[in-house]
């Protein structure tokens, strides 16, 4: 018998530190597989955020840099400008990229910075214990919205990929989820495309991945998938939100 599924070379052997059922691990695997399939593990520099994924720099097999909270894309810009022939990606949570890092999220896209961003959206600040994020759904209970997010008070959640898609320098923007095997395979296709866009130097690519947080949502890992489908998917526009002609031709 042959091994048909296992750990990709794009990941180290270190077991993930994430909570049981946290889908960060799935997204890690997808990125690891893409790095291997495109044969770019040795040419890639990843940038880790602050938050649960702050330790992702130990899990990927490529070079990695840890950034300050929200600054991963500015750091990635510096790396890419220094090494334009290398592949540079950021791996960031929604709290990191859509709150404190919003200015950079907008401007890397506006500049068409030739980097790839993987945004993992689980609708909370996970690492600090489940506080409200800009991506928290209306009515969602978190430790800083204990009565449910009141959109009249704090505004509606921000759909960052949709905003980024309006900017000229963003040539590929996709919003995926890892709630079902089918969607996981689709997310991988999008992640792969986002790296290929960079390989061809076409511009900025962002893939958002709706993800779960069993610990802070207070649900079982399986129930979290249902919650994601019922609560997050209707709020966030899903699919390949933007693709230039050049990207379509890939």
């Amino acid at each position: 018998m042959q091994k048909v599924f296992g750990r990709p070379q794009g990941l180290t052997d270190l077991p993930f530190h994430y909570c049981p059922g946290c889908t960060h691990g799935i997204v890690h695997r997808l990125v690891g597989e893409v790095l291997e399939e495109l044969d770019i593990i040795g040419d890639t520099i990843g940038v880790a955020p602050v938050g649960c994924a702050g330790f992702s720099l130990d899990f990927f097999a490529c070079d990695f840099v840890g950034a300050a909270h929200g600054r991963a894309q500015a750091v990635a810009t510096g790396i890419k400008r220094a090494l334009p022939d290398k592949i540079v990606f950021t791996y960031q949570g929604d709290g990191d990229i859509a709150a404190i890092g919003t200015a950079h999220a907008i401007h890397v896209a506006a500049r068409g910075e030739k980097i790839t961003t993987i945004m993992v959206n689980n609708a909370v600040f996970g690492m600090t214990g489940g506080q409200m994020a800009p991506t928290t759904i209306g009515g969602q209970v978190t430790t800083t919205s204990p009565y449910g997010r009141d959109c009249a008070l704090v505004g509606a959640p921000i759909d960052l990929p949709k905003t980024v898609a309006t900017l000229n320098g963003a040539v590929y923007v996709a919003a995926c989820a890892v709630d079902t095997p089918k969607n996981i395979l689709q997310a991988k296709k999008c992640i792969k495309k986002a790296f290929q866009v960079q390989q061809r130097g076409l511009g900025y690519a962002l893939v958002s991945v709706l993800s779960t947080c069993p610990t802070n949502w207070g649900l079982s890992p399986v129930d979290c998938l249902k919650w994601l489908q019922e609560n997050m998917m209707p709020v966030y526009e899903m699919g390949e939100l933007k693709m230039t002609e050049e990207v379509k031709a890939l």
Partner: protein, 353 residues
């Protein structure tokens, strides 16, 4: 070698290019703007790139990214903008990344004003960001030093893997002076065997500064502290001017050091034994300059703030001689005459102004 007449800020830009700086990330702010303007014009011709960040926070973090690759990189700003860079500086110090940061001080606090100031002394030398870190701070006092120190700052940054701050002020940045465009010294620097850039053919590397356990956190801090202690021991630099036989010392850096020089000469003409210690490294502070105070009867510090460096002078002097300070703020400069008057007043000397 011929000299060129240039603005202080332009001298900084030219030195950066000649030092091999390949990337500049910045954001315009008076009175440092000519640095980004000069580099935007000339760095591309030298094979480099200037990228205007969306803000100062982006700029310093772009520097952080570029520095992880071992590329020589610089940013420049003025006081409020420098404030925004503080988190980034703390991260640079912790990740031990070489970056040159210019702070052309302007008046504060708040939005302040555009005049010259030295009110960022604490912020530059004490670690304006969080966590208790150190960084080299150089204080030029004229156009030539803006050029020379910028040139050298890149070597110091690489040698010690540290951010290096050039602390100037609006007066120095804006003034035109002749500058000799010296070639960079051929310094032997440690190999950059720590950079990221793709792990093909070698083990993966990571550059980060977090510690998951307190034990690791303490070990990290001890490592950094050992380096800072080494720097404190080896890097102190100052200029002594008629200090050997001085009975009264003026201590001033940058623009104030420059004004104090003519004050010393004026005092000497009156037969007063006045000398000057001009700190060149603000961190590490030149404590050694005050080791042997000989016949010094008193010290007067002169600063463009309400008295910040004076604290380091007092720590260095350890109450062996009285220390007074003379301060101008809000963009105003002390004159030779008023410093003389202050000397006379605090030390009971008969001075003619």
């Amino acid at each position: 070698m011929s000299k060129e007449l240039m603005k202080g800020n332009e001298a900084i830009g030219e030195a950066a290019i000649r030092a091999g700086c390949k990337l500049f990330f910045g954001y315009p702010i008076t009175p440092s703007t000519e640095i980004v303007e000069y580099l935007a014009k000339y760095l591309p011709k030298a094979g480099g790139t200037v990228l205007q960040g969306e803000d100062e926070v982006a700029s310093i973090n772009m520097c952080y990214g570029a520095a992880t690759t071992g590329t020589r990189v610089m940013t420049a700003s003025s006081s409020p903008g420098f404030s925004l860079k503080q988190e980034g500086l703390s991260f640079l110090a912790a990740a031990e990344l070489p970056v040159v940061i210019v702070n052309v001080n302007r008046v504060g606090p708040g939005l302040g004003g555009l005049g010259p100031s030295q009110a960022d002394y604490f912020q530059c030398t004490k670690g304006g960001g969080h966590g208790g870190y150190r960084q080299i701070v150089l204080a030029p006092s004229k156009g030539q030093e803006l050029y020379d120190f910028t040139l050298e700052a890149f070597d110091l940054a690489d040698r010690y893997r540290t951010p290096v701050v050039i602390m100037a002020d609006g007066f120095l940045g804006q003034m035109m002076e002749p500058v000799e465009l010296k070639k960079p010294a051929q310094a032997e620097l440690p190999a950059k065997d720590w950079t990221v850039g793709g792990c093909r053919g070698r083990a993966k590397r990571k550059i980060a500064s977090y510690a998951l356990t307190n034990e690791v956190g303490e070990a990290n801090n001890l490592h950094w502290q050992a380096k800072w202690a080494r720097m404190q021991d080896t890097l102190q630099r100052w200029e002594s001017f008629h200090a050997e036989d001085a009975e009264y010392l003026i201590v001033g850096f940058g623009t104030c050091g420059r004004i104090a020089k003519s004050t010393v000469l004026a005092a000497r003409r009156q037969g007063l034994k006045v000398g000057l210690i001009r700190p060149i490294t603000l961190w590490p502070f030149p404590v050694k300059a005050f080791a042997d105070l000989g016949g010094v009867k008193g010290i007067l510090t002169v600063e463009l703030n309400f008295g910040q460096m004076v604290e380091d002078v007092k720590l260095a002097v350890e109450c062996r001689t009285p220390v007074f300070s003379h301060n101008r703020v809000g963009g105003m400069m002390p004159s030779e005459g008023e410093i003389l008057r202050k000397l006379g007043q605090v030390f009971g000397l008969a001075v003619e102004v």
